[in-house]
């Protein structure tokens, strides 16, 4: 370990050169500590370069450690020396790390609240104002987030409904309780699985699209351009999407409910011999309007979460094209996570609210 200090410049190099010359021959790893170096010029870099080469020649390991940023910039001009700068090992205490982590979370939550508040404000004020909402964009978004997701959501719900009927039939048959498959499918589809599956598919399709669109606009300065034109990015981009998904998500969910029940119905009538008539009769007895409405209310909450999480991920994009990719991924993961947490909370509320 050798520590250098002060200005590593032309005038100081001869003296330092002598100090470094004392380190010679093979031996243990040498760390050159540059933390106290205030300035460096070509002569200083050359001195380090020679020292590194001499150590390399005698087979001794050597690294430049704790290099100040001002010095690092100069060293990096000369690749041979720059490559030997050891990365800063951050030795941070546990509390430091927890603090930094908490700060990051607090920042994220604050950002989320700001976007949520802005969105609510612009939705409420915008609906009553001329040119407050970009209605044509809303209709476009409804097609993007709604009708185009309908096929895949319905298909998935149909298959899940059918599978659930098949799987549960084997158990229920042991008790001669085949008919209860109707209750199972009807209630679980409308209360839980319909809204949840619709939300997960939409998070994958539309949440990511929102993040990608806003993220791309961030890095191409389009968001800045909007701001300089006095257009609030949240009003301009997020509000039409929120309004669109508020309308489409319950509709998609209703389709998912129906498709899931249809799947169950087909399995029940053709495989379990429940009989079409008794299925429908049992469904009418067991399924209450409240189940369906609960599911649809949840679907709207999920929808808001998906769009706002996507928007946050987009607005936090910094850097280049790769950053957009990361934001998109994060938006899907975080979106689905948020939906499932919200679903758990909603179950608690509806369970104890009864």
């Amino acid at each position: 370990m050798v520590a250098l200090e002060g200005d590593l410049v032309v005038d100081a190099v001869p003296a330092i050169s002598k100090r470094l010359a004392a380190i010679a021959g093979p031996g243990e790893r040498v760390e050159v500590d540059l933390s106290a170096v205030t300035d460096i010029d070509s002569a200083g870099v050359a001195l380090l370069s020679l020292f590194l080469k001499r150590m390399d020649a005698s087979g001794r390991e050597v690294a430049l450690v704790r290099v100040p940023d001002s010095v690092k910039v100069t060293l990096e001009l000369f690749p041979f020396v720059g490559a030997r700068v050891a990365p800063d090992v951050e030795r941070r205490a546990v509390f430091d790390r927890v603090g930094a982590w908490a700060e990051g979370i607090a920042d994220l939550v604050l950002h989320f609240l700001v976007v949520a508040a802005d969105t609510s404000w612009f939705v409420v004020t915008g609906v009553f104002k001329r040119r407050g909402v970009r209605w044509h964009v809303m209709f476009y978004e409804m097609a993007q987030m709604g009708s185009k997701a309908l096929g895949v959501v319905s298909l998935i719900a149909f298959l899940v409904g059918a599978t659930m009927a098949l799987q549960s039939a084997a158990q229920l048959r042991q008790f001669g309780a085949d008919i209860f498959v109707v209750d199972l499918i009807g209630i679980s589809m409308t209360r839980e699985l319909g809204p949840l599956m619709a939300a997960i598919v939409v998070a994958g399709r539309s949440g990511s699209a929102v993040a990608a669109e806003i993220g791309t606009m961030m890095i191409s300065e389009e968001i800045d351009a909007l701001k300089t034109m006095g257009l609030h990015p949240t009003r301009f981009l997020v509000v039409p999407k929120i309004l669109a998904i508020t309308i489409t998500q319950p509709l998609i969910t209703a389709f998912a409910d129906a498709a899931g029940i249809l799947g169950g119905f087909l399995v029940a009538t053709f495989y379990l011999d429940v009989g079409a008539e008794s299925f429908i009769q049992r469904l009418q007895e067991s399924l209450f309007l409240k189940d369906v409405v609960t599911g649809l209310i949840k679907s709207v909450i999920f929808a808001w979460l998906i769009v706002s999480v996507g928007a946050i991920c987009g607005f936090r994009t910094r850097g280049g094209a790769d950053a957009v990719g990361r934001s998109t991924t994060t938006s899907v993961v975080a979106g689905i996570f948020a939906v499932i947490v919200a679903d758990a909370l909603a179950s608690l509320v509806f369970y104890f609210g009864d």
Partner: protein, 268 residues
């Protein structure tokens, strides 16, 4: 819309930081109406940051910025809106909205910010696009345009609202000399015909010669020279010399430039 202020832009002791890094350290600048101010400096010296602070996209860590008499950092929304309505910005990459056609892009501020009837807006957009030579491109989208066309379309959008102040971040970078010269001419006519203040960040010395009324030169977050182009060129600061260096300076001075760069250049 001519402005009635003595100075359209006043920057006082502006300090800007990104994290721990101080990017601007006590910058002062005043721009009059009908003045083309060119901001010069090496890469990473804080030119774009200065622009972002003047136009309110970033909040100063210290000092004050007044744009058309309003401090954007502390102004409330309506005031801020009013000022931004009189300001245009031409971004380096154009920053056109990719989802909209060129016509819609230029019409956007007019549609969103004014109560003008649709046909008037369409006519205004056609006029602005004709001015930048893009009359044929109304229905194209930004990805269908070349870099130079994007820049011209972005300029048309920046002047859509007849701003009192127009900012341009490297307007002629990446353009061929003929288009660049035409763009410079257009910028000058904006100044003379509409009385706009222009703040232009550029590297192109040829363009500086043509358009600049006054030049502000930045280095490492400080203003190292300000004045007319001639005055700035006469400043003895080594960085200024290095910038204009190739113009037949004495051998002695050339050497001092190299020395200055050798001992300092690594830490820009």
């Amino acid at each position: 819309m001519r402005s009635t202020f003595e100075y359209n832009i006043i920057v006082e002791d502006l300090i800007a930081r990104y994290g721990d890094k101080t990017v601007l350290d006590g910058v002062n600048m005043k721009v009059r109406p009908s003045e083309v101010r060119v901001i010069l400096g090496g890469s990473g010296c804080g030119k774009s940051t200065l622009l972002k602070h003047i136009i309110g996209l970033a909040t100063p860590a210290g000092g004050k910025v007044e744009l058309l008499g309003v401090d954007l950092a502390s102004a409330d929304e309506p005031d801020k809106d009013a000022v931004l309505g009189r300001v245009g910005m031409l971004f380096q990459g154009g920053a056109l909205l990719n989802a909209l056609t060129i016509h819609e892009n230029v019409a956007l501020p007019l549609r969103e910010k004014t109560g003008l009837p649709g046909d008037v807006i369409d006519e205004m957009v056609a006029m602005k696009l004709a001015l930048v030579g893009l009359s044929h491109a109304h229905d194209l989208t930004p990805p269908e345009l070349s870099g130079g066309m994007k820049k011209r379309a972005a300029l048309a959008r920046a002047m859509a609202m007849d701003p009192a102040v127009l900012f341009a971040d490297e307007p002629s970078a990446g353009l061929d000399p003929i288009t660049a010269a035409a763009l410079d001419e257009l910028l000058i006519s904006l100044k003379t015909q509409f009385g706009m203040s222009l703040v232009v960040v550029t590297h192109e010395l040829a363009s500086v010669e043509t358009i600049a009324d006054r030049v502000t030169m930045l280095d490492k977050g400080h203003v190292i020279a300000e004045g007319t182009l001639e005055e700035v060129k006469a400043t003895p600061h080594p960085m200024v010399r290095a910038f204009f260096g190739r113009e037949g300076e004495g051998e002695e001075e050339q050497r001092s430039v190299l020395q200055a760069f050798g001992s300092d250049g690594g830490r820009a």
